[in-house]
Amino acid sequence: MKEERGISLPQLPNEIVVHAQKTRLDSFAIALEGWRRGLKLKWYTKDSEYFQDMIIFGVNPPGRLYSLSSDERTHYFFRSRGDKVPNSAVEIGSEKDDTKIWLEKAGVPVPRGKGFDEDATDDEIIEFSRTIPYPQVLKPTNASLGNGVVTNIRNEAEFRKALHYVRVELGYPEVIVEQHVAGKEYRVYVVGDQVIAAYNRVPANIMGDGTHTIEELIELKNYERRKNARLKSCLIEMDKEILEFVQEAGYTMQDVPEKGKLIYLREKTNVSSGGDPIDVTDTMPDHIKQIAIDALKAVPGLYHGGVDIIVNEDKSIKDPAVVIELNPTAQIGGALYPLRGKARNIPAAIIDYYFPETKGIDTTNSKVYFDMTTVLEPLENRAALEVEVAPAPMGEFFAKRYVVSGDVQRHSYHKWLKKQALDNDLHGYVKNMVFDEVEIIVGGTDKAKINEFKSIISQYKNIHIKKIKEEIWKEPVIVGFEIAERYNTNSLKSVNYALRKMDKELQYLTKRKNRLEKDNKHILNSSSWKLTAPIRKVKEIVVGKR
């Protein structure tokens, strides 16, 4: 728990992705990278003509369909997949059965197994199951996110049970029977013939510390996940599955596991069901990476995407790893925000691939971004069909924070400031602070203009400025200029809105506060903490004397 905010790329700190969760995060990160390189960025609703021929799914609410354009050409994207990947490749990738056929044809190692369509009888499937070694996996042919997958089937009786569960209870008649390859699972992201990121997908787990109960450890783990921009949207939820899993491992939720004891909570490795992404890009052996690259190459047109592989633990099997799945529309959040290791820049690799001419533009230090919620709002309620984001300011970006005191909280003044900022190509906001202060942030690529803005601030007639405090502003700045004041005192509507917003904020803060307080109490009340109290006292005295 060293990192106060979790691991991230310097240009993608948590606060700028707060409005881009889950699959929107993929879109946002890639779109932002392209935009920061000077490409034109547009967002669309699913009604747009440009996506009529592209395989897309789950596109509501908007924030998953976008295009990037240079002067020469435009590329359309759905989440992390661009239009260079043809539909035929997407189709192959989304049918596990087809995937396997193509992989086998190209000599890429896959678990032994076979797919069955809905006409296949149970007997037929059981018959086949007898021909491959146990343990086995049974999975629906076209369910996503690990849904309905039954693993570690050790004998025929278990197989029959699983078959009934998947085909009848869950209602997935099309299934795949596969040899279960034991080993660690990895998600590898490949662009062209290069592995950009690889991370180990560890099922939801906790590590004992000899002090906390399993239940508390889960809470502590979630505390850590909350600091991570990707993982905070998929905390470990104590559901039936977890309770049963823990029980099966011989624990109760109230047990205190010894220090260093790793306890898994689920079978599923998906990040979205509580799994940990652990970056291994630098340590994964080349021959394993090559398998991932070959897997992608095996499908015609699949120029970039995610490859799920299991690295074999059983040395008696000749292949070092097997490919279990391809993801033409892979989520990339796990690589952008791993729990351990380094964040990997998949967005840059994708943009390099589609717009190689922009390769030289380094956005590592970029501080400017756009707000997803604001940009998507008219798309969200279909007031618009397309929105093009204002172009990113290109070049080195500077910003300053001015805190101005005086009778400066007037709406007309803020409107005027906004106009001055925009006319000078400056970005930022003006915000009311307590009583007679406003905070003004202005940023742009022209340093002189930012400094000159200090004198502009006091040029509005009829206001008295007592003091202007200035400082360099290093935080990210949103493109455009916002009047972020809590309310406009002349409008009842705005006041009511502000009141409701504050009410919400208050509730949220109270909740957060209570949660933290509870956490602290827990720790402070723990017997060992009490035991060490005298020692701490001594230290305090010693420190105090020094």
Binding site: G210, K259, A384, Y487, M502, D519
Partner: protein
């Protein structure tokens, strides 16, 4: 001014959102006309020098045409340059034998004698105007002889100090703004200065207030009320009245000299009163300037002598006064503009498209004018007759994500409308769309719901309200609509703010404490101690 004396366009009357007023009407209404005819409509930021302005384009499959205010792409750059410069305009008009007031400019180096000589050649009456003075300041009109001229000249140049002046023929007559598109006169207005008419009962102050109330009902005059300033007070005083005087019935009192709409002037449609000569004058003026396919032509016309002159050509005139005159009939400039640029859509039949659907001007322009978006494209305008319905849903339907869910269901069914929470705990839904889609939506409301909601009853009614903007909006405002901002509200806000600040502080402290504990060496020791104990 009774409502009977004016006639507005039925397809526009209910289709102007509150945010669209005055100058904004031009872009709004022309884009609306194009959009309703099925053209793809796009709004975008353009930078003119230092300033950003929202422009728009309309396109069909073959072409995309760009517009600014009411001006389309057929008005050439050259034409704009000519019209911007009054001297150049006059040259072009004279060249084409279009009458203009004769006159010339004099700068500070010209001696008074030379100017007097020139005035003699013009013939009286003449007018002296200072160059660069605002709003008729220092203008001396109707100078009838040399003696008067000499005194006036000294007054303007030497006493008031305006050395650069224009000496011009004084033309009697009324001023008209004539809107010409493609050599055709589409509409003409003339403007009365701010005024009130007595009813024998009300004071001038009351009459002004009544007038301002009427102006609020007019999209073009909204936000352009008559302010009781020094000029207004002066005019009232000159008529020997005070603000509290009661005007006799039907007595007309002008409150200002100038007829600027923005300070209280009243546009009156006079298209039907134009003589052939007047129309010809306006059309010929446009013909005189190469590439001026549409313009607002300002003419001064003396009906008694059936003679007039052209004073000014405007390439980007506002059209709000033609659309919403205070008196007379509205003239459909947007129709004329779109007919001209997209002649293939002339057949667009307003009767079969009786939906008065419009677009969400506010959402779109706010995004652009905040510098967040560069361009916004509207969804296509539905080209079928719409059915309207309203639903009131009761049960546990507030604070359970019901409105979000309704929005999703409505959008899935291609419906437009709004959803809002009512104070009595119910949810009100307005929808418009194809009948089959509405039926579908209705049955969804009846059988489905978001997880946490509990629906008791869904009541369907016919809806007489005009169709709302395209899209499906969740209305989050409402509540205490008529209460004005009181001290208690301010207090509440301050209280909230303080509480939030306090909580933020507390949270920061607790968070710090928490991290300290987790990272402290003591924490590590305790685990060891714990193990020791276990052993």
């Amino acid at each position: 001014m009774s409502r009977l004396e004016k006639e507005w366009l039925p397809h526009l009357e209910d289709s102007i959102p509150d945010e669209v007023n005055g100058d904004k009407l031009s872009m709004y209404s022309i884009a609306l006309e194009g959009w309703r005819r099925g053209l793809t409509t796009k709004f975008y930021n353009t930078k003119y020098g230092k300033k950003y302005e929202i422009n728009y384009s309309l396109s069909n499959k073959e072409k995309e045409l760009k517009f600014a205010v009411s001006k389309g792409p057929n008005v050439s750059k050259e034409a704009m340059k000519i019209c911007k410069n009054k001297v150049l305009t006059k040259e072009y008009l004279s060249e084409a034998n279009v009458s203009v007031p004769k006159g010339r400019n004099f700068n500070k180096n010209h001696p008074n004698e030379e100017i007097i000589e020139y005035a003699k050649t013009l013939g009286f009456p003449v007018v002296i105007k200072p160059v660069g003075a605002n709003l008729g300041k220092g203008v001396i009109p109707n100078i009838n002889n040399i003696k008067e001229f000499k005194t006036s000249l000294i007054q303007v140049r030497d006493v008031l100090g305006y050395r650069d002046i224009i000496v011009e023929q004084h033309i009697f007559g009324e001023e008209y703004r004539v809107y010409v598109v493609n050599d055709m006169v589409i509409g003409a207005i003339n403007r009365l200065p701010a005024n009130v008419i007595g009813d024998g009962k009300s004071t001038i102050n009351q009459l002004i207030r009544k007038k301002n109330y009427e102006r609020k009902q007019n999209p073009n005059l909204r936000g352009r009320s008559i302010k009781i300033d020094t000029e207004v007070k002066k005019n009232i005083k000159q008529a020997n009245y005070t603000l509290d005087s009661i005007l006799k019935k039907d007595e007309l009192l002008y409150l200002r000299q100038n007829s600027n709409v923005s300070t209280g002037g009243e546009p009156i449609d006079v298209t039907g009163l134009l003589t052939e000569e007047m129309k010809e004058l306006a059309v010929n003026a446009c013909r005189a300037v190469p590439g001026l396919s549409q313009a607002g032509v300002d003419i001064l016309f003396d009906i008694n002598r059936n003679h007039g002159v052209v004073i000014e050509l405007n390439t980007r005139p506002g059209i709000g006064s033609h659309l919403f005159p205070v008196k007379g009939q509205a003239r459909d400039i947007p129709k004329a503009v779109i007919d001209y640029y997209f002649p293939e859509t002339i057949d667009y039949d307003r009767k079969t498209h009786k939906n008065k659907i419009f677009y969400d001007y506010k959402a779109i322009t706010e995004l652009l004018s905040s510098g967040i978006a560069q361009e916004v494209v509207l969804p296509d305008c539905p080209q079928y007759d719409m059915v309207k319905k309203r639903y009131t849903v009761s049960g546990q339907v507030q604070k359970v994500g019901y409105r979000r869910w309704v929005q999703r269901m409505a959008l899935n069914n291609r419906l437009i409308g709004t959803v809002e929470n009512l104070d009595d705990g119910t949810v009100l839904i307005h929808v418009a769309g194809k009948e089959s889609d509405i039926d579908n939506f209705h049955s969804t409301l009846n059988i489905d719901k978001p997880k946490r909601a509990k629906v008791d009853k869904v009541v369907e009614e016919a809806d007489n309200r005009p169709i709302s903007a395209i899209g499906f909006e969740i209305i989050t405002k409402k509540k205490e609509a008529s209460v004005s901002l009181k001290k208690t509200d301010r207090k509440a806000i301050t209280k909230y703010e303080n509480e939030i600040q306090e909580l933020k502080k507390q949270r920061r402290e607790i968070e710090k404490k928490h991290n300290n504990i987790l990272q402290s060496n003591w924490w590590k020791y305790t685990t060891k101690v714990k193990q020791l104990i276990k052993k």
